[in-house]
């Protein structure tokens, strides 16, 4: 089950908004200022749907991930469950 932590600040908030509209994702606020997004399947985002410019897009997961990046392209990112040990 991949998880991402999104710092709860305006520039990253679209990640949580888009995930809330996705029935596969569970979005919860945490006490530490992070929004936790978990999914039973892959976590996939489209840059244009998020409205992210490149500087935000390429730093979108700076809050941390549990899982690994299977794909990080110009417009699509996919985080998948980590099958191996954490780094």
């Amino acid at each position: 089950m991949p998880v991402i932590y999104v710092l709860d600040v305006p520039e990253f908030r679209a990640l949580a908004d888009v995930a809330r509209a996705n029935s596969a994702c569970r979005v919860t606020a945490t006490p530490l200022g992070y929004i936790r997004i978990a999914s039973d399947g892959d976590i996939v985002f489209d840059r244009r749907e998020l409205g992210f410019k490149p500087a935000i897009w390429y730093g979108a997961f700076t809050g941390g991930i549990e899982g690994r990046i299977a794909e990080f392209g110009r417009d699509t990112v996919r985080i998948v469950a980590d099958e191996g040990a954490a780094a």
Binding site: Y5, V9, L32, G59, T62, G64
Partner: protein, 195 residues
């Protein structure tokens, strides 16, 4: 131990060498409009290979300055780096402007003077960049929002994750995914603690 608090009050000056005195004055004073606020000219005080120098300062707002050393009689250093090298660009000065309108006004002003201006929206700042006659990058930046305590704590965790990986490996970390994964583990552990 002194009881006087050790608190910084912002930038007084940054300083770099120049081999283009006239062009530097034209750029900072004439084009950018920064006042010439101070200049030291000294004889025989510098190191042996360039004993005489002029140390010049331009006012950059709120009592901050940008300074240059002009080492008389010293040829430019042979450097393997040219101003378009990333290392050359990474060392730069960024000045604060208070509003986006001011940022755009600077862009208009600089372009009207024939300068090539790069505009970039970052995470919490929007910036324009120009290059001075010495090849130094100058940035004007508008901060979109205040930095919060969350920003600071998040930054600490990012750095802690990267340093932990490097200490374990005994080598520099080479990719950001590894840092994000470690950071995810750190955040999860902290959440467990407060749960």
């Amino acid at each position: 131990m002194s009881e006087v608090p050790t608190v910084l009050g912002g930038v007084h000056h940054t300083a770099r060498p120049t081999w283009k005195l006239k062009e530097t004055v034209e750029f900072y004073n004439d084009i950018l409009g920064l006042p010439i606020v101070h200049a030291i000219s000294a004889v025989g005080w510098g190191p042996e290979d360039h004993p005489d120098f002029i140390h010049l300062f331009f006012g950059a707002g709120r009592d901050s300055t940008i300074a240059f050393f002009y080492y008389l009689g010293t040829p430019p250093l042979e450097s393997p780096l040219t101003p378009d090298h990333w290392l050359y660009k990474s060392v730069h000065t960024a000045w604060r402007v208070e509003t986006r309108d001011e940022l755009l006004a600077w862009k208009e002003r600089l372009e009207a003077r024939g300068l090539s201006v790069l505009q970039v929206r970052h995470e919490i700042i929007e910036s324009i960049y120009v290059t001075d006659p010495n090849g130094y990058m100058i940035e004007f930046t508008w901060q979109v929002r205040e930095m919060t305590t969350h920003d600071g704590l998040d930054a600490e965790l990012t750095l802690r994750a990267a340093i932990a990986i490097e200490e374990e490996r005994g080598a520099p970390v080479t990719d950001i995914e590894t840092v994000w994964r470690r950071k995810g583990a750190l955040v999860a552990a902290q959440l467990d603690e407060v749960a």
